[in-house]
């Protein structure tokens, strides 16, 4: 098959570009360990969140030193917690979010960051985030969920570690403090 030599050079350059792109993502996964949302969060009965040990009382739980689990329910048209009360986490913490929906598909993102995921009824989305500095973020539902979708938002506040306090029953780290 006859291929012009310029075209051959272009073809080679294109293949190099493609391999480089795949390489950057492989590097991101292995180097800075960017993990993809995957199946690790497991499934949950969307009609029985009230019977779930954590989703029945959603919010932030302490799971270890500087380690927290945040259970969030995204429902039409609010985050629970997040919308009425902000999600509060301490600075310098590693927070693993467990998010699910009892009704339709929603989104969960912290505006202006790369914390961004889908929320599906029946599935638990698990994402881990490091909050190094204090600050306040908007929480946005970015998947259309019905006629008041544009009102579905909330806030997440990263508070100074000295000002952070959890009720004792929410410390499930086992070691106490």
């Amino acid at each position: 098959m006859e291929i012009h030599r310029y075209e051959r050079a272009w073809l080679a350059a294109s293949l190099v570009l493609i391999v480089l792109f795949i390489g950057t993502v492989a590097y991101g996964a292995l180097g800075p360990s960017v993990a993809m949302v995957d199946a690790e969060g497991g499934t949950v009965d969307p009609a029985a969140l009230d019977d779930h040990p954590r989703f029945s009382d959603p919010g932030v739980y302490q799971t270890g030193e500087d380690e927290y689990a945040a259970y969030v329910i995204a429902r039409r048209f609010a985050f629970q917690p997040g919308s009425t009360d902000p999600i509060r986490v301490p600075e310098g913490s590693t927070v693993t979010f467990y998010i699910t929906s009892p009704d339709v598909v929603h989104g969960f993102s912290l505006a202006g960051t790369n914390v961004n995921t889908m929320v599906l009824p029946g599935q638990v989305t698990k994402v881990t985030v490091d909050f190094e500095e204090t600050g306040e973020y908007g929480v946005v539902c970015h998947e259309y969920c019905g006629e008041a979708h544009h009102e579905m938002a909330g806030t997440l506040v990263v508070v100074p570690s000295g000002e952070f306090d959890l009720p004792e029953e929410r410390d499930v780290s086992g070691g106490g403090s």
């Binding site: 098959m1 006859e2 291929i3 012009h4 310029y6 075209e7 272009w10 294109s14 293949l15 570009l17 493609i18 792109f21 795949i22 950057t24 993502v25 991101g28 996964a29 960017v34 993809m36 949302v37 995957d38 199946a39 969060g41 499934t43 949950v44 009965d45 969307p46 039409r76 009704d103 339709v104 598909v105 989104g107 993102s109 912290l110 505006a111 202006g112 960051t113 914390v115 961004n116 889908m118 599906l120 009824p121 029946g122 599935q123 698990k126 908007g138 946005v140 539902c141 970015h142 998947e143 259309y144 969920c145 019905g146 006629e147 008041a148 979708h149 544009h150 938002a153 909330g154 806030t155």
Partner: protein, 558 residues
């Protein structure tokens, strides 16, 4: 002799398909203007924010399902008949696909537009992705299914016509345009299996109350099995025009016929096993499957990069034939005042920009930054909204005279049209991309919140809103210019002289320079199927392992 004189029935079929396509384009485009003004806050008097989602559903379905499918069906009808130089195998089948598509369109549109009226018990505010458990009226799903079936019937007619040609021409290479149509339709048959399964097996029975629940993750997965290859179903007809018509309009010939065939085969093989890249951020899908889809997606860049080379090389050849010279000086020798040439070239240029933002979408880790932000519609308004739509409009300026026997009217408006569209899209799309980086979500009536504000990286949020609103107005103006030209031309009497001819000169490097195995469509289809089975069988099995309808969600009507 013009196409319409040689093949009057086929010309009429294409003309009528284009007619429905342009009607959908008109309504969908008007909805687009309303959205651009509403979500930027420039003017919110057309609809309430709750009805915004009815507008958004109409915009999506009428443009990417109805406008595209009717235009493509009509274009392919012309391409097959012209390049095989024989009439359709079956006129009856030609009518059958047209009316099936039309019936599906009427049903789906009725369900959507019913959402505007409280007194009408119909609505389908589910957007064009219709993720359950948001539920539309059964008419919506039945209409969507009929549109797919209509496109299958159209494909059957192309294949039967090809078979009849083959019987008369044993041993000949498939003419290039027919080759492109057949490979695109094979890709379409393969990928629509996903959405057909979703709609027919699950959503129609569920919307009729026959089954109680559907699995949202399985439905999304079946949708995106179709939802990425569908973008190539839109793009490849534009490529057909870029490869076969654009070189002629620039005064030259296609650079390489063999490479064009390779490009279309690569799309057939790689388009479908990529759907998970729309679900990078979905729970319930292991990372490995996402990585495989990403690798396939990245390799899909290859046929588009090859196309960029061939298209530019062919145009340059044409410009040099017309006396252009210099490293870039040949650009001045091109017919920039020919609306067909200008529109198709600008569409190609804009597709290059859309290709780059697509490469970013494809990267699994950087996708976190842009997923479901305004960046994404910023991207696909460059691809389907310009690479396809502007190519379709510009090609119409060249093709419509041939299928109607009428010289193009309002030529001044036609000459301005591609530039107006281009400018509008530059304004709207750059601002959408940048707003997405700031975290502004897509698919919302009011991307403004009480508790917080978006922090723009470059420029300001107010400036982006102004550009989106102004861009939307210019795009609508471009659409009105286009529709006026088509309407005036259609209403005009027949002409003796058309100013355009349908002859397409042979490629510089013809099909005889390529191995005949490229034309073995059966072989390539089998390879494509094998790749899909490899990519999708394991994840689909794991999703249905807990029961086809589990976890099942009852409907939430909207």
């Amino acid at each position: 002799m013009a196409f319409v004189d040689e093949f009057p029935f086929e010309a009429k079929l294409t003309r009528h398909s284009f007619g429905v396509a342009f009607l959908a384009l008109a309504i969908g485009g008007l909805f687009g203007l309303i959205q651009a003004l509403h979500r930027t806050g420039a003017f919110r008097g057309f609809v309430s924010s709750a009805d915004y989602y009815t507008v958004l559903t109409g915009h999506g379905v009428l443009l990417v399902l109805v406008f595209t499918t009717f235009f493509i069906a009509g274009l392919f009808n012309w391409g097959v008949v012209r390049s095989l130089d024989r009439p359709l195998h079956s006129k009856r089948l030609g009518r059958a696909w047209f009316y099936t598509l039309l019936l599906g369109t009427v049903l789906a549109s009725t369900a959507i537009l019913g959402g505007f009226f409280d007194s009408v018990p119909l609505s389908a505010d589910v957007l064009f992705t219709f993720y359950p458990p948001l539920q539309a009226h059964p008419f919506f799903y039945i209409g969507a299914a009929l549109i797919v079936v209509g496109s299958w019937l159209a494909g059957a007619n192309y294949f039967l016509t090809y078979r009849a040609w083959r019987a008369e021409n044993p041993g000949e290479r498939i003419p290039l345009q027919t080759f492109m149509v057949l490979t695109t339709m094979l890709l379409w048959y393969l990928s629509t299996l996903g959405v057909a399964a979703e709609v027919v097996l699950f959503l129609i029975p569920w919307s009729l109350g026959i089954v109680g629940g559907v699995d949202p993750l399985l439905s999304r997965t079946l949708f995106w099995f179709f939802g990425h290859p569908v973008v190539y179903f839109w793009l490849l007809p534009a490529y057909l025009i870029w490869y076969t018509v654009l070189p002629k309009l620039s005064g030259g010939r296609l650079f390489s016929d063999p490479l064009a065939r390779v490009v279309f085969l690569l799309f057939l093989l790689l388009s479908t096993p990529t759907g998970f890249h729309h679900q990078y951020l979905d729970p319930g899908i292991p990372e490995g499957f996402k990585a495989i889809a990403m690798t396939n997606t990245m390799f899909l860049l290859l046929p588009s990069l090859l196309t960029a080379f061939t298209v530019v090389a062919s145009i340059e050849h044409g410009a040099r034939q017309s006396g252009g010279d210099g490293l870039f000086g040949w650009l001045r020798a091109l017919p920039w005042d020919d609306p067909a040439f200008a529109g198709i070239s600008l569409a190609g240029l804009m597709f290059a920009a859309g290709g780059f933002s697509g490469m970013i979408n494809a990267g699994m880790s950087i996708n976190y930054l842009v997923h479901n932000t305004l960046w994404v519609p910023g991207h696909f308004h460059l691809t389907v909204g310009t690479a396809f739509a502007l190519t379709a409009m510009a090609a119409t300026f060249w093709l419509f005279p041939q299928i109607s026997g009428k010289r193009l009217r309002l030529r001044g408006a036609a000459v301005a049209q591609p530039y107006v569209w281009f400018l509008g899209m530059v304004l709207m799309s750059n601002a959408m991309h940048r707003a997405g980086l700031a975290g502004v979500p897509r698919r919302t009536a009011e991307p403004q919140y009480d508790a917080f504000a978006f922090d723009a990286g470059v420029g300001g949020i107010g400036e982006m809103r102004a550009q989106i609103a102004l861009g939307g107005i210019l795009l609508f103006l471009g659409l009105v210019l286009f529709l006026a030209v088509v309407f005036r031309t259609w209403m005009a009497p027949r002409d003796e002289e058309l100013r355009v001819t349908g002859t397409i000169p042979p490629a510089l490097s013809g099909p005889e320079n390529s191995p005949p195995v490229l034309d073995n469509l059966r072989l390539w289809t089998l390879v494509a199927v094998a790749l899909v089975v490899l990519t999708y069988s394991l994840p689909l099995v794991s999703m249905v392992a807990d029961g086809l309808l589990t976890p099942g969600l009852p409907p939430i009507p909207v």
